[in-house]
């Protein structure tokens, strides 16, 4: 006879606690709380969507394994890029780095480049052999242009990426590059101060 009231009481307390956390998480009315986290989630979702599409187009291809044939590697890269382009023909700059997400990225990079990190990141960028390149979504990254290394301090602070895509710096721009397809997925202008 006692069991039911105890359970219902526990449920009531649990509901009350959940509601209290929810209110706390929302913060005061009309004040955007943790906007960065929401934008980060949005970014991750867009990357996840890209990867879903990529997985689907890659499914029909033989998996690339270590080979002595550079032609096979090049062909796999070309074919994967072709299929990705075909799957997202209307992809435009800003599809992943939307203006809001882009603003948050610039903010993170600006903060990272302040203070003690600033000199090191500038040194890393200088040491990385800076490159200039006309950028276009779905373009192949040209073989003749070196891939500028990405300052490690930035990689520690930007949202983590799965192995299939990576951040790269070109001039003042931040690229999202598909590693296997050697393809520019999206890019953020004026990301690096």
């Amino acid at each position: 006879m006692l069991r039911k009231p105890i359970i219902s009481e526990l449920c009531r307390i649990a509901l009350a606690l959940t509601a209290a956390f929810a209110v706390r998480a929302q913060g005061p009315p009309n004040q955007p709380v943790n906007r960065g986290a929401l934008l980060s989630q949005d970014f991750e979702q867009r990357v996840t969507d890209y990867l879903k599409m990529r997985k689907a187009v890659e499914a029909g291809m033989p998996k690339l394994k270590p080979t002595g044939s550079p032609a096979e590697i090049a062909e796999h890269e070309r074919e994967l890029a072709r299929r990705i382009r075909e799957a997202r023909p209307r992809a435009r700059q800003g599809d992943i780095f939307t203006p809001e997400i882009g603003g948050e990225f610039r903010h993170i990079i600006e903060i990272t480049m302040r203070g003690g990190h600033a000199a090191r990141i500038k040194q890393s960028l200088k040491s990385a052999e800076p490159v200039q390149l006309r950028l276009g979504v779905n373009d192949t990254y040209p073989a003749s242009v070196p891939l500028q290394s990405t300052p490690p301090a930035l990689l520690l602070n930007l949202p983590k990426l799965p192995a299939q895509v990576e951040y790269r710096v070109v001039g003042h721009n931040l690229l999202l590059r598909d590693v296997g397809a050697n393809l520019i997925v999206d890019w953020l202008p004026a990301a690096i101060p």
Partner: protein, 327 residues
């Protein structure tokens, strides 16, 4: 006042000595072998920034094959920029397969790291032995090699390195990657951002030697916190007269292409740096540092020392041995 005077004299002497160490001319006798070829030793060659496909890369490769006859190294470590420019099959042939064909035919394995001129998909090229990975490790005898992708030092790679080094029981731990943590090269200089992340890990787990490329010169840096640093980015490319004089440089060479021969036996690492023309540019033996904290957890290394000597003589003259102090 007096101490200041002595300080100025000391600095001047140091600069004079450094000027001697940054040398433009190959110094040792041609075709001499300065590594001992001990039985059961770990033997390898080092090349960096090699993949130009030009005549000078071929000439370095010919010297490597020549030295291989007397110093049968089992493998070559590649410090990145393995294939410059185009990445067509013809490029792999002209910039890698053809120049090193005699070594490949002799069964010598190549273990590549990625440079900024490389396509990361080179990791699938079987002769580079990367197993499809951007960063990886392999063992040979008592030495373990940790091959990093310094173009993209993300948290995943740092975690991997930390775990691998922590679990390593090898006597010699050697890391190599493209961008140097220390360099007196005028064109790029050191990557201090990378240094801030990697050096504490290297010191924590007792890494013994680090090889990098990127600067198109040869440099041996005075030991830093118990770690020997080499820069070798001139096995194909060359940036003449690009080294600054610095008291941190143990030896520099910036007027011709070069490669290295390395032999590890017991607690000693013998090295010989050979120019495109076959002259010995630098050689010596380094003693393995003692790690005071064998658990590998946050232990600092004992100060290392340069145990024997470096050849700094001019061709034909008697060899002069310069003892080096610790870094």
């Amino acid at each position: 006042m007096l101490s200041r005077f002595f300080l100025i004299v000391l600095e001047s002497l140091l600069l004079i000595q450094t000027a001697d160490r940054v040398s433009g001319q190959p110094e040792g006798a041609k075709d001499e072998l300065a590594v001992p070829v001990k039985p059961g030793s770990v033997r390898f060659a080092v090349i960096g920034d090699n993949g130009t496909g030009e005549r000078r890369q071929y000439e370095v490769a010919q010297q490597m094959a020549k030295y291989h006859e007397r110093f049968p190294f089992n493998f070559v470590i590649m410090l990145g920029d393995n294939i410059y420019g185009g990445k067509r099959p013809a490029d792999f042939k002209r910039k890698f397969e053809d120049p090193y064909q005699p070594l490949l035919d002799a069964g010598v394995k190549f273990y590549a790291s990625l440079g900024n001129h490389d396509d990361p998909n080179e990791r699938f090229y079987k002769p580079f032995n990367m197993g499809g990975k951007r960063f990886y490790s392999f063992k040979n005898g008592k030495a373990e090699f940790f091959v990093l992708d310094s173009n993209y030092m993300d948290p995943q790679q740092l975690d991997w390195l930390d775990k691998q080094l922590q679990g390593s029981t090898s006597t010699w731990k050697i890391c190599y990657f493209h961008h140097p943590l220390y360099s007196e090269g005028k064109f790029h200089g050191p990557d201090t951002g990378l240094r801030a992340l990697l050096e504490p890990i290297f010191e924590k787990y007792g890494v013994n030697a680090v090889f990098s490329g990127h600067e198109h010169v040869y440099e041996r840096i005075k030991p830093r916190n118990g770690i020997y640093y080499f820069v070798l980015g001139n096995s194909g490319e060359l940036r003449p007269h690009n080294l600054k004089r610095s008291p941190d440089t143990a030896k520099g060479f910036d007027t011709d292409q070069s490669f290295m021969l390395v032999e590890i036996s017991g607690d000693e690492l013998f090295f010989q740096t050979v120019s495109r023309t076959g002259a010995t540019v630098d050689s010596g033996v380094l003693e393995k540092q003692t790690n005071v904290n064998s658990s590998g957890s946050a232990g600092r290394l004992n100060r290392s020392h340069f145990s024997a000597a470096c050849r700094t003589s001019v061709e034909g003259a008697a060899l002069e041995f310069l003892p080096f102090s610790t870094g």
